[in-house]
Amino acid sequence: MYKLYFKQAIAMLKQNKFISLIAILGTALAIMMIMAIIVSDNIKTISIGAEPNRYRTYYIPTMMERDTVQNSWMTGTISYDRYQGYLSDLQTPEYSTIMSRSEQLVCREGESEIHTLKRRTTGEDYWKIYSFRFIEGAPWGEEEVQSGVKHAILSESATRKLFKGEKAVGQMILINFVPYRVTGIVEDISEIFNMAHADLWIPYTSIDNYQSWGVDMLVLMAKNNSDLPEIDREVRQAEKKYDASHANKVLSYRGPAKHSDYQLSGWASTNEDAAVKIRVARRKSLFIFLVLLLVPAINLSGLSLSRMKRRTEEIGVRKAFGAKRHVILIQVLFENLITSLLGGVVGLLLSYGVIYQMKHWLLGVPEDSYIPFNALVSWPVLLSVVLVCVLLNLLSAGIPAYRASCMNIVNSLTQNDK
């Protein structure tokens, strides 16, 4: 049965090339816009590659402290003394690390060629939360971090910049004119992994006076993503512990925030503010999807209705020979689905083009970064495309299909016999 519908749908598309083209283009355009948004979102939240644990990773990026006597507020990155002894002792997370990122001047000892590289300072758990492939050497462990030894791990491209093919592991480099020994080289990763990406990594303890610096971010990885409420409880307890030992001060940490939520609300200063931002962002997405679906659906509805008019005769014949209403309904929807899916495939491919062109805006990565294939083509993406096609199909062909199935047989047959 469906093979026949398919055959007929293809034949009809061929017979009405102009209108079919318009229908497919219209669908493709809608799918392109919607998938550009969905795929971008997917890239930002999917757990793959260098960040395979996004679904169970939580962030604490900033803090806010209120002075109840002077009635003043201070917000900013977490200072080391508000981390150590409070957030450093959380029990529930499987791994936890603090992390900062900044641009630093790096050169080889004795050389005048200075490069500006992205440096990340981390704890030892960092290498367990994120996934790197070591070409040479190994990540540092607890003892190295405890001792604050000046070891550095370089990315493949950073190594090439500094050492130009020479052996790098064991050599000395100067980071902001402070000597470090290279102890490992990792394979380059894509910039879409914005928590893992860097050119060089050093233990945070290797920085002189690190206790007087701030902490950019605390990253926690849970055993299961159902542990979040427990982690939240512990963080709130840490806040109370601080308040108890500091008169007139009320501390609140922002977080622990899920990876997906953090993408939407990164700049909020409090958890309440973040919740509002997330709510608004979700409403905005819904609204945009509605517009992106509705307008083409209206278009395609009009088109479907017109196409239906041409087929009243055929539908009358089918009903005369025994086709029931729901059979006609399914046939019309199925045939329209062919158009939708064709448009969907074209739209999906076009959306990849859009994402490549507008990387900076949609993903927040530099124009020359590359996007790994399995971030673009993944099960969530393919499922979404099919879902959107079906949705668009129902919206645009639903009413025309229903009306077609209810047509009076005699009127349908005599439609063109005037």
Partner: protein
């Protein structure tokens, strides 16, 4: 008892301003294996009669019995199944589906009853053989002549083995030679046991059938 029985049939077409009485208190009985012609001038209601017989439309008053079964109060789905099993239609303007080839067109009724693809294929081929168009199986309706189109339509009408064939001016759009071919085919089918009710305005053709009923202004006249 006739295979088709119409009792007290009245059909009125209503638009916003005008009421047209298409059929008024019509009684008719068609015997099994009969070849009946229905005649009358334009607008006398003969096509409406055929539509009602074919359950393509509902009467405003009266009862229709086909093959002994009372069709009043039948739901849409029941009628569809009934049509599929018992009736076959041949229309004046053929009503073939342009985006399907000949074989697929003929298979159409079989789609709406439980059957396998193989069964459908075989039955359709057999019936096309019968009407002499096996060599045109893969062609599309736009590539056929009027006579060939109507033969395909007849093949479609009989592929399900219906007891009753309803033909509305089957030769109306054909020239005399093609028309004769079609009539030969219908006669052959009648001999093989099909009951045929045919609407026509051609006196000459009607006379070659077994019985003629005449209509005028929605009423039977004799």
């Amino acid at each position: 008892m006739g295979i088709i029985k119409l009792e007290g049939i009245t059909k009125i077409y209503r638009t916003k301003e005008v009421e047209t009485v298409a059929l008024e208190n019509v009684n008719l009985e068609v015997k099994e294996k009969e070849f009946l012609s229905v005649m009358g001038p334009s607008g006398c209601g003969k096509s409406t009669l055929l539509n009602l017989m074919g359950l393509l439309d509902l009467p405003d008053e009266g009862e229709i019995r086909i093959n002994g079964i009372d069709t009043t109060g039948m739901k849409d789905g029941q009628m569809a199944d009934f049509r599929n099993a018992t009736l076959g239609f041949v229309f004046q303007s053929f009503h073939l589906i342009n985006s399907l080839n000949v074989l697929d067109n003929v298979e159409l009724p079989l789609l709406y009853r439980p059957s396998t693809e193989k069964e459908r294929r075989e039955k359709a081929k057999a019936v096309l053989e019968k009407v002499g168009l096996s060599h045109r199986m893969r062609h599309f309706p736009s590539q056929l002549s009027g006579g060939q189109s109507q033969r395909v339509a007849i093949a479609r009408a009989i592929v399900g083995g219906p007891k009753i064939i309803l033909a509305d001016e089957p030769t109306g759009n054909l020239d005399s030679r093609m028309g004769q071919e079609i009539m030969d085919l219908l006669f052959q089918l009648n001999e093989e046991g099909a009951t045929i009710v045919m609407v026509t305005h051609d006196e000459h053709i009607a006379e070659s059938t077994q019985r003629i009923v005449r209509f005028f202004d929605g009423r039977r006249v004799e």
